[in-house]
Symmetry: C2
């Protein structure tokens, strides 16, 4: 359930309890760092957790800067929303990015690019409105996903493969600097999500991203990440998150 530690350790992550979604890059960072955090949404309500705990911040009832949406992190009085902002702030504290400003910003901009990819993947199964069911926008989702998988995903993947190649200090193994950063973890998460959502398409695309594919395997094999992935703390991919597998959307031919 909630990771190690308890509610008074300091780092409180608020995110929907049933999905990996936009919270998972943050969970991976805490897990890799071995730093205790409380996954408040997954705590029972009797211990101050659950969706109700999240809602109190979204409605503004809880005080502080009111977040627009989860995930958000609470540390003392600070409430910080947006995955990329949270990782930017946490990165040096977790030892998952250099303190050097230029490297920090290089990591941050990569994370924001991944944020955009997450949004495009999400919107492809909800192209008309988040307030509508998938079934109410299925035809549009099919058209949209065709473009996503044939144009956008390859563009993003080529970009990150090239970024791995261009970062000389990382020797093809790291996106920023000469060691693991939270962005490497997030790229792992992205590739894992895409492979879940679009197994056929990603099978085809895998060959063009050897460095990124190797990074994905290396991250999965890191002791703390491997332990996390095998634990009940790792929520399985499912049909409620950012990455969803709809058989009819994987490698779908265009439909008007």
């Amino acid at each position: 359930m909630a990771a190690k530690g308890d509610r008074d350790v300091g780092y409180e992550l608020y995110y929907w309890p049933g999905i990996q979604g936009r919270g998972e890059p943050i969970r991976l960072a805490f897990e890799e760092a071995g730093v205790p955090y409380v996954d408040v949404g997954r705590l029972p309500e009797t211990r101050g957790g659950g969706v109700g705990a999240i809602e109190r911040f979204l409605t503004g009832e809880a005080g502080g800067v009111r977040p627009f949406a989860p995930p958000f992190l609470k540390v003392g009085d600070m409430v910080l929303a947006h995955t990329a902002a949270i990782l930017h702030w946490l990165g040096p504290r977790l030892g998952l990015v250099s303190e050097h400003e230029e490297e920090r910003m290089a990591a941050h901009q990569h994370q924001l690019t991944l944020t955009d990819l997450f949004a495009e993947v999400h919107d492809a199964h909800h192209p008309i409105a988040v307030s509508l069911y998938y079934e109410d926008q299925k035809a549009e989702a099919k058209r949209c996903t065709h473009h996503l998988v044939s144009e956008r995903v390859p563009k993003f993947l080529d970009y990150f493969e090239d970024a791995l190649r261009r970062n000389k200090r990382g020797k093809g193994e790291h996106l920023v600097g000469d060691r693991l950063t939270y962005v490497d973890l997030s790229l792992f998460q992205t590739l894992s999500g895409l492979a879940y959502a679009f197994p056929r398409a990603m099978q085809r695309l895998g060959a063009r991203i050897p460095l990124a594919s190797a990074l994905r395997e290396r991250v999965a094999a890191r002791p703390r990440i491997a332990a996390y992935l095998a634990s009940p703390r790792r929520i399985p991919f499912n049909q409620h998150g950012v990455f969803r597998h709809y058989e009819e959307l994987d490698d779908a031919p265009p439909r008007r």
Copy 2:
């Protein structure tokens, strides 16, 4: 054209020359600060400007961290992409946000929320694919925009109105802290864009956001901003940017 100064002043902004788009929040920050910057995309090609200058970075030919997309800022050897990351980095340097980390992060998260709104506004006229013309996704755009204007825009506007109300130090006039930050400028830009794109809908929604509406007017009246808006440096809103006015999308009834 390119703002004050010349190419060797230090701050080089790279963004598509014909639109406000995601570059405008950065232009507004430089203009308000009175700090020289070069708007490289708007320089003539004979002076190293134009779209070609942008493309050299996008293809990776120019070296450094290769940006995924404009806008990006070049300062010395650093190349930094993403509007919110650029403003986060520039903010303290332009005197447009406190040096205090918690305030900086509060501004950054608001900016990222505005980034999300920009994306939703853009995607509503291109719900299926950026690679298709508006005309090829007009029916979907109509459905999507109905949800945008009736659900999402009010939710975002209410959020920022409330943020103005909740920031006691700002006395209802500033989103963060007790003085103008780049986020106030970006909220001005957002409201201006929405008023351009959806005049009928925004006319209706205006009444629910008195603080935000007053902020918009105050920002427009600031001497440097007023001078900028009246200058040829301010590209008019048009049908190529994030905020577009399609008569049929303003206040459109839902269509299946």
